[in-house]
Structure formats: structure tokens, C-alpha cells
């Protein structure tokens, strides 16, 4: 008896990025064609009317720096300049904090270079009383909400003025006053929590929106799918953002399943409204966030937004990307740099020039440095002063129980 020939041998695939160190960057598989003609459905539309966008790309700024198409949010020059200012401020802050980590002043840092538009545009498009459940690369939200830079630095220095009492790794901010939730180091845990928060707001009849962010890598976590299920079932006023920056430490987006479908398309199966947007286009991110916020605020349910971008720097200060991706990959990124693109747009409008740009960057660098001097005067992790040692045992419970009291005494404090 002869066996039938095996046509497709069983096996499995481990996805590989288009290029490794020494190779030539190639983003042709990502479907990043300029799509300024993507129509803009009514924000109250059925979710299905948005699903085509999950496989397209909303873009407003074209290569000539002009704002085009139905998604143009038609922002004033003042608002655009504010956006540019905030993105540059974020960048100046990041650059200084990286230097400080290299000097041993802070223990750890995470930059968001190349992704500034995502947090800044969303932060500006949302209302001040909307609630934010960010991941660790949305520090721009804090700037958009006007947080004091010295306070942010004091947190990163883990000093006596750190509003988290030195309990969190740097960049894991919390800012209750700015409606900015606690950043967890465990990925994606905030996503379903955000839906719960949104449900509580809705139960009280408030018209606030809750927004959360995860990266492309985190879409593989169960909590991502928990959030999608909850948002879908309860139609909560929530915006679920996926920041697809192509890399999760050393794993490219294909390891999260990004080659099989877009991340926005994850939302289709859950019946969410789905938008896929050029994340390096300030105007496109602003417009998409505004659309989703209007939809949620008017009781029309949740939206998933994939912002396509590129992590132009290392994952964190503990990472060396030259070991797993081409060195020049960021320069080859087809969607450019968000700061440059907004600057070019303002210049094209006649509302900005290179001289003002240089002066602004200089002023921001000075502001950041002066803020650091001030922050450092409140202490550093290395030299103190830190929060009082007994604070180790505080805030575990509302009231300190006997066993923690004894352990505090054991430590002699």
C-alpha cells in the first residue's frame, strides 16, 4: 500500500523582520501608502462603517507639508504651534533624561523619540477631564496636560519630592490631579481597567471619555483581549489605542501577529469602530482621537485606534537596538519624523520658520536644564534625600496592620 504524497508538510513559522543588523531596511510590507482620500464616516456610524479603515491609513499631512482630505481637523495656527512646542518639549526632556541616566543620576529611562505626536495630539484632542490610562511611552500626555516638569523629574530621581515616594521605577508616573492613571510595568493591565473606569463614569452620567494605550507587542497579552471584550460587550465610552511602533524590545511586530493582519483589524472581530492612522502625522492623530472621543462622548461606543509609527530610539536605557535591527532603520522609516512634519506644515502655512524653531529648541533645552537643577536640589536616588524609610510600610493598607508595624520595628524605623 502506498501512502498519498504529503502536499503540505506540517510545520510552523517564526516570523522574521525584513532586515537585521547590516541589512537594508524595508517597510514595503506594511501598507503605508499615503491615503489622504480615506473617507471620514460620521462619528455616530455603525462600527462596520469604519472597518475598511483598519486596512487603510488615515493621513492628513502630505509630503509637501500640506493638510489635505476629509480628516483635516482644521486647527488654528496657534494650536499647531502649541503642538509643535509640546512635542519639542517632550523631546528635549527625553534627551536630557537619557543623559542623566548615562551619568548615573537616574536608574532607568524610556524615550519616545519618533512617537511624540501620538501622546501630544491625543492629549490635546481630549478634554482635560477625560481619563488617561497610558503605557510607559506616553509621557507626552503629561506635557499636554501641563504637568510641572520639575515634578516629573523628581519622580524619575526617586527623591524626597517624588509624588510616588520612590516606590516606582522612573517613568512609571502617576498624576491624579491630571487624571493620569498609574503606569504599571506589567504590560496591558491598564487596558481592561480603563474600560471599568469608563463604565463607572458612564454609570454616573458623566460625559467624560477614558483613553488607554498599549504597544503592538502588548496586543498579544490576554488583557488586551479582555479590554476588547469588555468594551464590545458593555459599549463603554473608551478609546483603545494601539501604538504600533514596530518593535517590542527586540521583537518586531510580526512576533505579535502583525504580519497576519493589522492591529486595528483586531478590533473588527470585536465589533469595535476601528481606525488606522499615520502616527507620525500630528493632524491625523488629532483627528482620529477627536472622532473617537466625539463618538464615545455621545454614547456611540468604543473605538480602537492603531497609530502606525516607529520607535526611533532604544526600548529603554537597558537596551541596544543595534544588536537586532539595522542602524539606519529609523532614517528609512517612510512616515518621517512627527516633529519635522508638523514644523514643515507650519512653515508651509507661513506660520513658522527655521529661526523660530532653533530659538524654541534652545529655549526648551534651557528650561529643561533649569528644571533639572531645581529637581536635583530636592535630592537624587544616589545621594538622597529620599522619602522617609518608614514609608516602605505605608500605603500597603489604608491602616497599617500589626504585622507591618512589627516589620517596621524589625527594620528599626
Amino acid at each position: 500500500m502506498t501512502k498519498a504524497p504529503i502536499r503540505n508538510a506540517p510545520g510552523f513559522t517564526v516570523p522574521e523582520p525584513s532586515a537585521r543588523p547590516g541589512g537594508t531596511p524595508d517597510f514595503s510590507a506594511l501598507n503605508l501608502k499615503a491615503q489622504e482620500s480615506v473617507s471620514r464616516p460620521d462619528p455616530a456610524c455603525p462600527p462596520q462603517d469604519t472597518h475598511f479603515i483598519a486596512n487603510s491609513l488615515i493621513q492628513v499631512l502630505n509630503e509637501e507639508g500640506q493638510a489635505k482630505g476629509p480628516w483635516d481637523p482644521k486647527l488654528s495656527a496657534k494650536t499647531l504651534r502649541e503642538g509643535l512646542h509640546l512635542m519639542l518639549k517632550t523631546r528635549a526632556y527625553d534627551d536630557r533624561m537619557l543623559k542623566l541616566q548615562r551619568q548615573g543620576k537616574i536608574s532607568f529611562y524610556v524615550k519616545c523619540r519618533g512617537e511624540e505626536a501620538i501622546a501630544i495630539a491625543a492629549g490635546m484632542a481630549l478634554h482635560p477631564d477625560d481619563m488617561l490610562f497610558p503605557a510607559y511611552r506616553q509621557q507626552g500626555l503629561l506635557f499636554a496636560r501641563g504637568r510641572d516638569m520639575i515634578d516629573m523629574m523628581c519622580h524619575c530621581l526617586s527623591n524626597a519630592r517624588d509624588n510616588l515616594k520612590g516606590r516606582q521605577l522612573p517613568v512609571h508616573y502617576t498624576w491624579e490631579e491630571g487624571r493620569f492613571f498609574s503606569i504599571s510595568g506589567n504590560l496591558g493591565t491598564q487596558y481592561p481597567q480603563a474600560v471599568g473606569w469608563a463604565m463607572a463614569s458612564a454609570a454616573r452620567g458623566e460625559d467624560t471619555v477614558t483613553a488607554s494605550w498599549v504597544g503592538d507587542g502588548t496586543t498579544a497579552e490576554g488583557d488586551f483581549h479582555s479590554a476588547c471584550t469588555l468594551a464590545s460587550v458593555y459599549q463603554a465610552p473608551v478609546i483603545l489605542n494601539v501604538v504600533n511602533n514596530q518593535w517590542a524590545i527586540s521583537s518586531f511586530s510580526g512576533i505579535a501577529g502583525g504580519q497576519s493582519a493589522t492591529f486595528a483589524a483586531r478590533g473588527i472581530g470585536y465589533g469595535l469602530a476601528t481606525l488606522r492612522v499615520d502616527g507620525n502625522d500630528f493632524l491625523a492623530v488629532y483627528a482620529a482621537t477627536q472622532w473617537a472621543a466625539e463618538r464615545a462622548r455621545s454614547g456611540n461606543g468604543p473605538t480602537m485606534i492603531e497609530s502606525v509609527t516607529y520607535r526611533a530610539d532604544a526600548h529603554s536605557t537597558s537596551d541596544d537596538p543595534s544588536r537586532y535591527r539595522p542602524k539606519n532603520e529609523a532614517d528609512a522609516w517612510p512616515l518621517g519624523d512627527p516633529v519635522e512634519r508638523l514644523k514643515d506644515h507650519l512653515i508651509a502655512l507661513g506660520e513658522w520658520d527655521e529661526k523660530r524653531q532653533t530659538a524654541l529648541i534652545e529655549a526648551l533645552n534651557k528650561e529643561v536644564l533649569a528644571s533639572y537643577k531645581k529637581a536635583e536640589s530636592f535630592g537624587t536616588l544616589r545621594d538622597g534625600p529620599l522619602s522617609p524609610v518608614p514609608s516602605i510600610f505605608e500605603d500597603v493598607f489604608a491602616e497599617q496592620p500589626w504585622h507591618l508595624r512589627r516589620q517596621r520595628q524589625d527594620l528599626g524605623v
Binding site: 481619563m131 509624588n163 510616588l164 515616594k165 516606590r167 516606582q168 512609571h172 502617576t174 498624576w175 491624579e176 492613571f181 498609574s182 504599571s184 506589567n186 493591565t189 487596558y191 481592561p192 481597567q193 480603563a194 474600560v195 471599568g196 473606569w197 469608563a198 463604565m199 463607572a200 463614569s201 454609570a203 454616573r204 490576554g222 488583557d223 479582555s226 479590554a227 471584550t229 469588555l230 460587550v233 500605603d395 500597603v396 493598607f397 489604608a398 496592620p401 500589626w402 504585622h403
Partner: protein, 340 residues
């Protein structure tokens, strides 16, 4: 004066929800099958009809989602009471408990808190097999920041649930499902008893609390101390009665923060102690209790502290009563401790 009624543990838990929801708009309740149907054990029956679908509702079958949603709601001013259908099912939500719920106050230095209650039926004795019989409390007692309760009767079940919901900390309540409809003394061959003739089946219909962190001495005695919680409280009582041992039996009620003052006072008096739990032995909660007892009571002890527990195996289905630490094992441990 507040009126009382005869209640099962299920009715007492239901009554606690009712009292809480009546008094406080922030209290809401949800879980798998916990809305329209009122829960697989009926603990939330009738509440959706009374309080509406946005306060009492069904959830998807996703314990991580249930706990995360409860965290978000609690942080945003609600007082959720979430049901995890069986304690055995809680593990998909473990990360939300370990890394999120119990650390929120700490890592935000008090800016955000999540005062919520998780309720979950635990323990064996109902032929539930390995996935409907677990007593997983030890996994949770190891987590800083979590209050953990286990009532052994309707009165405590209601009073503790109300206290839990009014607490500013997250609270996990394990409810021994074998006790839901009646006390169980460990003898599976006796006809099942209801709560109707039991002292603690008489429950105030209104608001009251049982204090968190306080154990209950359910039998005063001089010969030895038995520390137990949940179903094992009833097994201890009956074992002592049958063997004629003058045991002091402590119903712990709160596992974290446990009432060491009451335990130490008793052990220092009796000089002998047996610790009971249904959960497996190795690294069980009994290990913590015994370590603390020897630290505080070593010079008063006249015998090694013994523990009677479930075996270090999964909970078997067919051999449930060889697994369950019943009267024979408890009596033997008490006798050996007295004779040592």
C-alpha cells in the same frame, strides 16, 4: 431593635448585598451568571430585578477582565462586589490581583485606590473534582496589601461582607461552598443539616458588621488550642465533642491580617496547638500560622504544633473523603498533641 431571620449562608450573602446596595449607590455587583440568573449558587438572586441592570450584571467568562473592570470601577469611585464563580477559576485574574489591585494604593502613594470585594466559593465536600474544590488561600495570603476573609456561618458571612465592602482596602472573601446550605462536621454519611437550627443561622435582616481582623473563639477550652477557618471549624467542633477533648477552638475568620493576639493568648494558656485547613499542606497558610505561633509561644508549648490539612495532591473526585481532613484525622492529631 433590628429584626432577625433564619438564613442560609447564601441568603445571608444575598442579604448583605441588598443592605449595601440599598444604602450606597456606589455598590454594584457582577460576575459570571451573577446578573439575571443570580449566580450559580444563587448568592445574587433577585438583585438585578431590584437594583437594575447597570448595578447587577453578567460578565463575560474572563476572570482577568472581571477583576480589571472592578479595579477600574473602584478606582473611579464605585464599590464593586465581584463574584468569581469558583475559587479554582480565579487564576486567569491572578496578575490583576498580584500586580495591580493590591499595589495600587502603594505604587500611587495613595492617589488611586481600589476598594472592592472579590467573593469566591472555595473548598470541597460537594464532589466537585479537582476544578471545583480548591482552597487556594495560600497563594493570596502571600500578596502584600490584600485583606482575606473566610466565614464559617451565615452570621459572619453577612457581617464580614458588609465590613469588606465598607473597607477602604481590597478584600478577597473565600466562601466555603460546603457550608452554603448548612454546617458540615466532616461526616459525609450523616444526613445534610440546614442552618435553620444553628445559632449562627439567625441573622439580622438589617445592617451590621463583623470586624475584620478579629477571630472568634467558638469553643472555650483548656486542653489544647485548635486554629481553624471555614469548613474545618465545624469539623473541629464535632471532633472535639466526639473525642471528649476540652479544646479551645478558634475560628480565624480573617486570614489577613490574622488575629495573632487571640491565637497567642490561647496557645500560651493551653500550651498545645493544632492547626487545620482543607488546602494542601506544603506552604499552606498553616505553615505561616505555626511559624508565628512558635515565635510567640515557644516557651509555653508542651508539644510540637501539628497541622491537619489536605494532601499535597490535586483534589480527587472519587476519593474525596480520603482527601478531606475529616474527623478521624483531626481527632488523631488532637490526641497525639495531648499525649506528646
Amino acid at each position: 431593635m433590628s429584626t432577625t431571620a433564619r438564613m442560609t449562608m447564601i441568603q445571608a450573602i444575598n442579604s448583605a448585598h441588598d443592605v449595601l446596595m440599598e444604602r450606597d449607590d456606589r455598590v454594584c455587583s457582577f460576575g459570571e451568571d451573577a446578573g439575571y440568573f443570580g449566580g450559580v449558587f444563587g448568592c445574587t438572586q433577585g438583585l438585578q430585578e431590584k437594583y437594575g441592570k447597570t448595578r447587577v450584571f453578567d460578565t463575560p467568562i474572563n476572570e482577568a477582565a472581571i477583576i480589571a473592570m472592578a479595579i477600574g470601577m473602584a478606582a473611579n469611585g464605585m464599590r464593586p462586589i465581584a463574584e468569581i464563580q469558583f475559587a479554582d477559576y480565579i487564576f486567569p485574574g491572578f496578575d490583576q490581583v498580584v500586580s495591580e489591585l493590591t499595589r495600587l494604593r502603594y505604587r500611587t502613594a495613595g492617589q488611586y485606590t481600589a476598594p472592592l470585594v472579590l467573593r469566591t466559593p472555595c473548598g470541597g465536600g460537594i464532589y466537585g473534582g479537582q476544578t471545583h474544590s480548591m482552597s487556594p488561600e495560600a497563594f493570596f495570603t502571600h500578596i502584600p496589601g490584600l485583606t482575606i476573609l473566610m466565614p464559617s456561618n451565615p452570621y459572619d458571612a453577612k457581617g464580614l461582607l458588609i465590613a469588606a465592602s465598607e473597607s477602604d482596602d481590597p478584600v478577597l472573601i473565600f466562601e466555603p461552598k460546603r457550608l452554603y446550605n448548612g454546617p458540615f462536621d466532616g461526616d459525609p454519611h450523616k444526613p445534610a443539616l440546614g442552618w435553620s437550627s444553628h445559632d449562627q443561622g439567625l441573622v439580622p435582616t438589617g445592617h451590621y458588621t463583623v470586624p475584620i481582623g478579629k477571630a472568634d473563639i467558638v469553643r472555650a477550652g483548656a486542653a489544647l488550642t485548635v486554629v481553624a477557618y471555614g469548613t474545618m471549624v465545624h469539623v473541629a467542633l464535632e471532633s472535639a465533642r466526639l473525642a471528649g477533648i476540652d479544646a479551645e477552638i478558634i475560628d480565624l475568620r480573617t486570614l489577613i491580617p490574622y488575629d495573632m493576639e487571640t491565637i497567642a493568648k490561647s496557645v500560651n494558656k493551653t500550651g498545645r496547638c493544632v492547626v487545620l485547613h482543607e488546602a494542601p499542606r506544603t506552604s499552606g497558610f498553616g505553615a505561616e500560622l505555626i511559624a508565628q505561633i512558635q515565635e510567640e509561644c515557644f516557651y509555653a508549648l508542651e508539644a510540637p504544633v501539628k497541622r491537619v490539612t489536605g494532601w499535597d495532591t490535586p483534589y480527587p473526585h472519587a476519593h474525596e473523603w480520603q482527601y478531606f481532613p475529616g474527623q478521624e484525622r483531626v481527632t488523631r492529631a488532637m490526641t497525639e498533641t495531648l499525649e506528646a
